[in-house]
Every structure is written in C-alpha cells, then in structure tokens.
Amino acid sequence: MMSIAETLEGLRDCAIFRSVDAAALKLAVLTGEQLRYYGDEVLFRQDEPGDSVFILLAGRVEVVRQDEDAGEERLIVHLARGDLVGELSLLCNAPRNATVRALEPVTALRIPRQTFLSLLSDRPEIALALCNLLAMRLRRTTEQF
C-alpha cells in the first residue's frame, strides 16, 4: 500500500487535482479507496453502472470497447499514472461505455460518486479542471475525424 505522501504525489499528477490544496487531497484519499490490480484484472466493465471514478496512481491500463459488429474488443487508449478514468458515466449517470483492464500491477484511488460530486461542488477549481480535461478530450476526438 502506498504511503500518504506517495498517494498525494500521485494525485498531484492528475490534472484535476493539480491546483488543489493538500487538505482537499487528503479528503479524497480518506473518502476514496486505494485498490491494487494485477495484469488482466478489470477495474470496471462496459455496461456496468458507473458509481465511481478512478485515479491511476501507478501502472498502466488499457481502455477497450466491445465492437458489436466485429464481436471483438477494440482498443481505445492506454492510460497511466495521473489519468482519470470512469468520470463520463458518473457525470452522465449512464452505464460504463468501455472496459478498463490492468496491463501490469496497477494502483488506483477509487472515489465514490457522492464524494466526487461533493468535491466538485465544494471545490470549483476541481470542477474547472475537469471541464478543461473533458474539453481537451473532446477536441482530440474531434481532430481525429
């Protein structure tokens, strides 16, 4: 298990927590749950209800989506330390739109829905950084087409 200092450092690498004070980060750590995965273990599966977000503190994961037509998985992206995963289904109140699987030993902080929403409403800087992150992703997606 990571020490509190290592966990806070890992959170600081996440774009939405970069400008947040230590107390708020500790709140996220206390209310969250540090989880460890080994290769091939799944953080969450496509179509499951989205009840939390994950911040990757160590290791790499792949985000894959089931291709209904081809009947096989399609790789969407690889993510690593500092990346936020699972926020879309939580914000849209919709099922997970992809499966996230560990490629190697991974440590992640899982923050439940209620806590994450409270953090967003109490800390505008986190909400703003999240907007920024989502806008960047949208822009990247738009540029691909």
Binding site: I4, K26, L27, T31, Y38, Q114, L117, S118, S121
Partner: protein, 862 residues
Amino acid sequence: MRAEWPWRRGEDRAGTPGQPGLRGEAVIGQVSLLRFVWVRSWRSQIGILALSALIFPLTYATLELPKTIINDAIGGGPGPRQIGPFTLDQLSWLLVLAGALFLCVLTANLLKWRLNVWIGETGDRLLRSLRVGFLAQILRFPAARLKRERPGDLVQRLMGEVEPLGGFMGGVIATPVFEAGLLLIYAGFVFAQSVWLGLATIAMFPLQAWLVPLLQARIVELNRLRARRARETAEFVSETVEQIGETRVNGASGWRLSEGQGKLRAIGAVREALLRRKYFIKGVNNVLNQLSPVMFYALGGWLVIDGQLEIGSLVAVVAAQREMAGPWKALLTFVQHVYDFGSRFAFASQSFADAELVADERVFGPADAGPLAGPLAGPLVLEIQEAAPGADALSLARAEFAPGSRIAVLGGSDGAAGALMAAAAGLEVPLRGEVSLGGRALESANLAALGAAVGYVGQEPAILSRTLEENLLFGLLSTGRPGQAGDVRTLRDWIDPDAGPEAAEARTALLLDLADGAGLTPDLVRLALGCRLTEEQARLFRPALLSLRGSLQDTMAEAAYRDLVEPWRIGAVNAEASILENLLFCWPDREAADEAALLASPKIARALRRTGAERFLAEIGRELATAFREVVEAAGDGAALQGLEGWRHGDLLMAAELLQRPSRADRRAFAAIGARFVPARDPLIALDMAQTERLLDLRAALRDALDEPGVHFFDTDGVDPSQSLFDGLLGGRRRRSRRVAWDRIDDAVQGALRTEGLERAIATIGLGTRGFAEALSAVARQRIGLVRALAKGPRLLVLDHVFGRAEHARLRDWMMDAAPGAIILYAAVDEAAAEDADMVIRIEATGEAAAHPASGPRRTSG
C-alpha cells in the same frame, strides 16, 4: 375451530379489531375521547370510582377529628370521658383522637397512592390500546393511501402526538368525580360550621367556572394550530431526509435549512402565544383564589369574636378551606385538559381515518372462519377493464388459467405489466374487472387466506430486521397457528409454539432445500462465514474446520491468490485489523461488538493501562484526530464524509473537537479513537518503524496479561470462536486493496466447504444471521422473496419483474417442482423467456392485453 385472537380476550388486551360492539372505528374520529375511555376501560373506571368513594369518609374524618381535638380534648376541660366501657382522662382522650387522626391520614394516603397507580396503569393501557387501534387502521389503509403516506409522519402521529394523552385518559372519569367529591366534602364541612363561611368560601367559584373555559377556548385553537404546524414540520423533515441526495446535488442544503428554520420559528410563535394565554389564566385563577381567604378570615374572625363560632371550628374550617384549593384547582385544570386533550384525540384519530379502509374482518379475521375465509384454490381468472387508480393503462379480456399452468407476461410498459401482476396477486384492485382464484374474488378474500394461497415476489422484497430464517418463514404467518401472541418471542414461536426440536429441524431442512433450489446457498454460506461460531459449534466443527483451514492455506499460497489475505503473525502488524486488535492479538470477549465494547471491559482496560498500551493508543488517537481535523475543515458541510467506512461524520467532528481542549482526562477519549484505527482503511496516518516495534512489544506484554482459559490468540492452531469463521479459516483478513479479487477467495472457500461436505451445515448457521440486509445483492433479496413465497406452498406464484433471463431459465423447472400444481405468472423480459410458458399474456403499448397459448416446448409439472 375459530382461533382465539389475543385482542378478543378482555377489555384491556391490545384492543381494536374484534372488540365486541366497538371495532376499529372507535378510534377514527367517530367517537369522543370520553366514549373511547369508557368502552375500553369501564371496569377499571368503576373500580377507580369505588376506591375514590372509600377515601371520602376518611377525608371528612381528617377534618372533623382536629376540630374535636381542639374543642373537646384540649378545650373541653380535664374531666374523664366515657368511651363505651372505657373511661379516659383528658390526655388519654387526646392521644386516642390523635391516633385516630393519624390512622385516617395514613389510610387515606395509602388509598390515594393505590388510586394514582391504578389511574396511571389504566392510562397506560388506554394509550396502548389507542396506538394498537391506529396501527390496525394503518394495516387497513387502502393501497393508494399507503403510497401517499410517509412512514416518518405515521410514526410521529402514532407515537409522539398521542403520548400526552396517556396520563389524562386513565383518570378522565375518576378525576372529576374524585376531585368534585373532595370539594363537596370540604365545602359541606365548612357549611356545617357556618353558612356564611361556606358562602364566602365558594364566592369566587362561579366567576372562575365561567371565565376559565372562555379563555381556554383560544388555547384549544392554538393547540390545534401547534399540532398542525408540528405535523407539517415532521413532514418537512421526512421529505428532507428522503430527498437528501437531490438536495446535495442541487446545492440546496442551505435553502433547506433556512426553510426548516422558518417552520420551527412558526411553531415557536404559536408556543409563545400558548404560554402567554396559559399563564394569564393561571394568574387570573391565583388572584381569584386569594380573594376567598381574605373574605374568609374577616368573616370567620368576626363570627368567633361575636361568639357565634368556636375557635376549634374556625381552625378546622381554615384547614378545610386550604384543602379546598387543591381539588378546585384540579377541577379547573381538568376542564382545561378536557378541551386540550379532547382536541388532540380528535385531531390524531381523524388523521388515521379513511373512508376506503379495507374491511376489518378481511384484514384481521382468521383464515378458516367467517364469510370471507376459506382456501383459495383452482383456476385463476383475470379480467381487467380498467386498472387500479394511479397505475398505467391496462385492459385484459377475460382469461382463465388452469392450476399448474405457467403464464408469461410480455410487452407493455413495466407499469402496465406491474399493474397486472399486482392485480393478480390481490395487491391492487382494478377499478373495473374481475380477479379470482378458484372462483373466489381476491378483492374480497380474507387476507390470511389470500396470503396462504398467493406467493408474490417483487423486485425489492421486504427484509425484516430479524434473522434470515425468520425472514424466510414470514410467508407462513398466514397459514400458521396464531399461538399466544403475548408470549411470542420469534416468528418461529408464532408459527408453531408447541413444535419440538424435531419439527424445528424439519423446518430448517425444508428451508435449506428451498434456499438451495433458489440459489441462495452461497449467500447463506457467505453470511455464515462472517459470523462467530458459538462455543458448541466450534467444538462440533473443529476437526472439519482444521482440515479445511490446512487445505485453504495451501490454496492461498498459489499465484492466483497472492496478496489477497493479510495474515495474523505474532511478529507483524495486521494492517486490516484495528490497532486494539493488533495490541490484544485476540478478541477476548466474543460478545463485544466493537472496539468501544472491548475498551469498556474493566479487565481489558486495566491490562491496557498497566502495560502502557492505553498511552500508546492515545498517541495514535491524537495523531489521527489531527489528520481528521484537517479533513473535516476541508469537507465543508461534511457531505463527502457521509458513508465513510468505520467512521461517522460525528466521530470525526468529535475527534477534531478533542484537540481544542487537550487535557489529561481526554487521554481515554484519544485512546478510544486510536483503538479504532485500521491502517489499511484509514490511510491519513501510518505507523512508523518505532511505533510498530512498540506495538509488538506491548502485544507481548498484553499476551502475558490476558493469557487465561477461553482466550484464543489469533495464530493458535485451534478453532477460535471469537473470530469470524472466515477469518479463522483464512488465518487472517481479506485485503481491502484487493477487493476486486474477493470473489475469488469466496469461491475458493465455498468450494472447499462443498468438498468437505460442510456447505449445508455452514448454511444453517447463515439462517441465524441478523442485520444482513445491506450485505445482500438485489438478486439475493429476490431469492429470499422466492423462498418465502414457496415455503408456504402457494396455489399462485407471481414473479413481478424478478430475475434475469438466465436465472429464470435456471429456476423455472425447479419452481414447478417446489410448488406442484401452482399457477406461475411471471413477467418475461423477451420472447425467448416466454417460450417455455403454457400461456402468454401480451400487452400492447396502448395497454391493451390478451392471453393466448404459447407456441414453444413446455414441461409438465412433476
């Protein structure tokens, strides 16, 4: 034979339904408070009146004797008195009279004590009877009313609002009679001494009797307003709690608080007005009461001076006049209370009234007697022209289904299909149409008979706060014997109070078979694994569990299970356990639910203090409190801290507050916080190397201090009944950080139990689990609902949108075997799920439905 229902046994038994000549309507605003009291407690009231009558002559004697003492024994000269055959000198005569007075006073007060206790007991019984009546009303509420009412509001009305009525109701008949009787005795005594003094004594009574009720009328209005506002506030609080999620998401906590403040302020304004009025009345009464003595002393003194009255008589009259104040005040207060409590009673009882109540006989009547009773068996007829109020549109042409048939409901909205299911189960009554079983309309069938015949499984079956076994047996209530309700301890007693251990074993076996068929066994085993064994179970299972533990530990050493269990080792800290557990390295009191309970044990507290472990815990607690303070400040309104594992928001606030006033006395409080610290759960602080070494040293010291028979240390080879079965088998705790792989461990343990032939025995332990509701998945709850429905051998089984396609396919043949001859009606998710049915009811998007034979292969019962 007609069953003996407990409330039919006597006047003071629970009370509402079945009371001869006075059923549930007695408390729904149809009768006055006085009539309710008389009908429910006339025997007690007559007894109380008789006892009151005994006190009256004694009271008169306590007035007459002092007068005789002064006039005759003291003032009547020293000569001897002849009392029957006895001749008494002056002193002896005085002592006899004083003794008689003492006896009268003592007897009168003993009788008053008994009278007050009797009044109190009667009031208590009446209050219970009133509440049972209201509860009976709730049980008879029509479905639409139940959907509308908030449970919190009903609780407030049932418990809070009627509470003050108890004391009043007990004496509502006796109090005025008793107090008026006393008043007449005192007044009669005064009039007997002097008519003028008598008139002076009661001079102000007419004015008070006219004025007080007049002022009281406004108080009654204010009381009604207060009750109405209190109820509105209770509704507001209920709504706030129910909608807390929406409130938080919309950032409306402040607005809600302000709204609540407004409502409380409104109640406060009414209470202020009430207080002003009440004390004004009290003031007026006091002034008028004081006027009487002024006239009394002037007139009485003049009569004595004029020789028309003896001094002894004046002294006795003075005493009587003083005594009169008590009953007169009590009578005036009683008049106030008649208005006040009468309006409360009417307000409360009217709130439980409903014109559409389900018939009393239908709800409470026995299943085997009366016009509505009798078994429901035979074909199911469904015809719905118009669904129940509030349900989605639905119409179904008349269809008849034979016993043993399986009917799938396809299509339509969930609401329309749900309405059909609810109608078929007798839960809802269509506005127009017919639903019958064996030719008997469900609408009018006795509910006990209906409960025995129909099994209904909804998406969220109710879980009672009782053992799992009792939850599974819940459906047998309607078919079982009522038993002796007053002695009921568990539902099992209710079902068959005379059954011996063999019957209990047979019932458990039946339940386990049903649970196994329904797929509930893994959940039972999982719940059992979280339990602590009893000493007897530990002895019984010891060899098997030791063998199982050996093989499991080999399994846990395999690569697939690496890192899943934090083992108990004497030379290491277990990060998944609390610091107190780590220090003690045992759970010395299996009855202690948590660390606080352990700390409350004098033996453990003494050992902790002597070894210095309490100081260590306090240091950890202080460190943790400091970390909590920082987080509490960052958490704003604390919404993010709700639902934290192991800690409530209040615990964190208290910990932060402790830091404001550090003193030696707070060491225990900090130690209590430190004792609960679990390193893997509470990541804000961590044990450093020095603290770890200190903990291990203290562990060794405590081990010496606590080593005695019955204490099992965690790394021993025995079966430790103070640990959960799961921890004992694994030799440690599952790691929280590997929650993703917990299913793997569960499967390994359950597989090993199966292999060893222990699964059923362990599942039996699971039947005794309590407080399991939150540990169950939605599907497991539905399985409980299914077992509950099947345990009573239903003639009709309704499955209202439960189980997925695969689960239903797995269960369908088994259900037919478990309920032979029963009609099974289920909502099918798609055509494939309906292919095994005998009949299909297809509901169109418009709500129009029709039944037709299914086309797929099917299996016959048996």
